[in-house]
Symmetry: C2
Subunit: 335 residues, 2 copies
């Protein structure tokens, strides 16, 4: 008997958060793998802010998700049937599975890559996956971290931010300051993850606190949130300061046009640089980062936290967590 495939399909473009009518559950027969394809039983989904941007009808680095299409997402699954020498039944593979029970693995854009079974899948999706890679290359390559730098990270209790701050510490930053949205998160990043300082951006004056903690200005700001915090950090940039644009989670739910950072002219005064990147450009260098991260994990120098949400049907709520700040660490859905 053919298995049933539950598919979480984009029913309408959300305005703000995902609601009950944004994504709907449909059930159909699991697909049959053709020649050169394999059938993958999806186990875990990586819940990333970028998924929300794909739900808007705006072309980005990937096309928008079409209405009626399964929500695009990275994930890990097990090969359960294979018509390809590339995939062996029983393998765990990582790829663009989408929010569904069964996905097809193949060639090109459909290709999936094997992942080790010794490491729990949520951890693979976190520090060994796109999240860890984004932190590593964003901080070290795009941001060109130097020893002694004063580093500020927003979304610091989130998956990427928490890893960025820790790598900055490992790599000899002078001071690492994290911005997070609760006292609990602030304690977590300083006491558990070794950040030097934390600022609860919901409580008190971010600008004044940054001035206090960064008397010589900010050498490197790793931006996950955009909006006012980006503008404030631009205003306090040190000479030759760098801003790494990773995301703008504070704006992804906005309907209208994002507000631009009015302090951008400080890039002239401070001879600064603001640069964006997409981690897909670094795929060929992932092994280098994975080796470094693996070593830090073994040495107990890098901590990782996963926030596992059970149930495919709860994927939209899991995505919303990123925007309400309801998570600490990497959000993963257990299908």
């Amino acid at each position: 008997m053919t298995e049933q495939n539950r598919r979480m399909v984009l029913a309408e473009r959300p305005s703000g958060m995902c609601t009950e009518t944004t994504v709907v559950l449909e059930t159909e027969d699991a697909p049959t793998p053709g020649e050169g394809q394999a059938l993958v039983r999806v186990k875990y989904l990586s819940v990333d802010p970028t998924i929300r941007t794909w739900m808007n009808d705006v072309p980005g680095y990937l096309p928008p998700i079409g209405i009626g299409e399964v929500v695009r997402s990275a994930g890990i699954g097990e090969v359960v049937e294979s018509n390809s020498a590339r995939y062996t039944v029983g393998d765990l593979v990582f790829g663009t599975t989408g929010w569904q029970d069964y996905a097809l693995a193949g060639e090109g854009a459909q290709a999936m890559t094997p992942v080790p079974k010794e490491i729990p899948a949520p951890v693979v999706l976190n520090v060994f996956g796109v999240t860890g890679m984004t932190a590593y290359f964003g901080l070290l390559e795009v941001g060109a971290l130097k020893e002694g730098d004063t580093v500020v990270v927003s979304g610091a209790a989130g998956a990427t931010g928490s890893t960025v701050g820790q790598i900055a510490r490992i790599k000899g930053a002078g001071s690492v300051i994290g911005l997070a949205g609760s006292e609990e998160k602030c304690r977590f990043i300083t006491e558990e993850l070794g950040f030097d300082h934390a600022i609860n951006y919901k409580d008190g004056n971010v600008r004044a606190r940054l001035r206090e903690l960064c008397p010589k200005g900010i050498d490197l700001y790793f931006d996950n949130v955009g909006g006012e915090i980006l503008d404030t950090c631009l205003g306090q940039l040190a000479l030759h300061g760098r801003i790494v644009l990773c995301g703008a989670i504070s704006t992804y739910n906005d309907d209208g046009h994002a507000v631009g950072p009015s302090n951008y002219l400080n890039l002239i005064v401070r001879r600064g640089r603001m640069e964006g990147f997409i981690i897909l450009d670094y795929v060929a260098r992932f092994p280098e980062a994975q080796a470094a991260i693996g070593a830090w994990l073994l040495e107990g120098r890098l901590h990782h936290v996963e926030h596992v949400v059970p149930g495919l049907e709860h994927a939209p709520e899991a995505l919303n967590l990123l925007f309400t700040g309801g998570n600490t660490g990497k959000v993963v859905v257990e299908v």
Copy 2:
């Protein structure tokens, strides 16, 4: 008899353009050079947009001009009296003369450098001075121009912009597009200076014209104006595009806060970079640029235009020309 020194003094901080009450003429005795100093009779003043920013009470890369102080400005003058082995009577020197008849040359911040007498002073202030240096290093170092690049320059009929576009052509850009504020200026930059295309930003849809002329997007945008045009260019950046922030002349007369470029998130999508610079950081490398520019002038490959305004007392109007677009090429005041 001691000579009289006419000094153009900042009387009040302007709101918008300089008016009759912004800068007032005062006359006093010319200063007497102390030990290690020389007296310089100022001949020509370099009229640069940055002077307007120094009139605001906002700290920048230099402190604001104080109320009651002579307006800060670069200029060229002749040494008429010297108590320093460094300065010889009859020498032409370049330095921060200010808007006045007589300035003191000395050491440190007061230092002035000899300039050749064979080249007319307005030309020295243009392509051999800060203007030419800004164009050269901004385009080649900060912008990292590559052969084949699609280059867009705003303020293209102005001193810096006109030089940027020509250097881009000399260095093998694929296409050089200039934005200017009149049909006459557009004809000038294409017919006289060799720009490939010009867009009159006051007439028609800049966004649509740029899309037409840059079908693959903008590889390098050299920004002299800020505001909406910066935002439009950000929105049309090519993959790995670079934006060189040189100035934001469209905003310098604004009282309020500048509006930030809302399309900045395209820096992520396009893996782009936006970087500012201050030409003073390149002083040690000026000779390299001056040699290249000198050669291009001799070969007839680089054109320069100076717009000379006679009379120290007209310096404020000369400055306003930069903002009304009343000039083509480098504005210089003949004292």
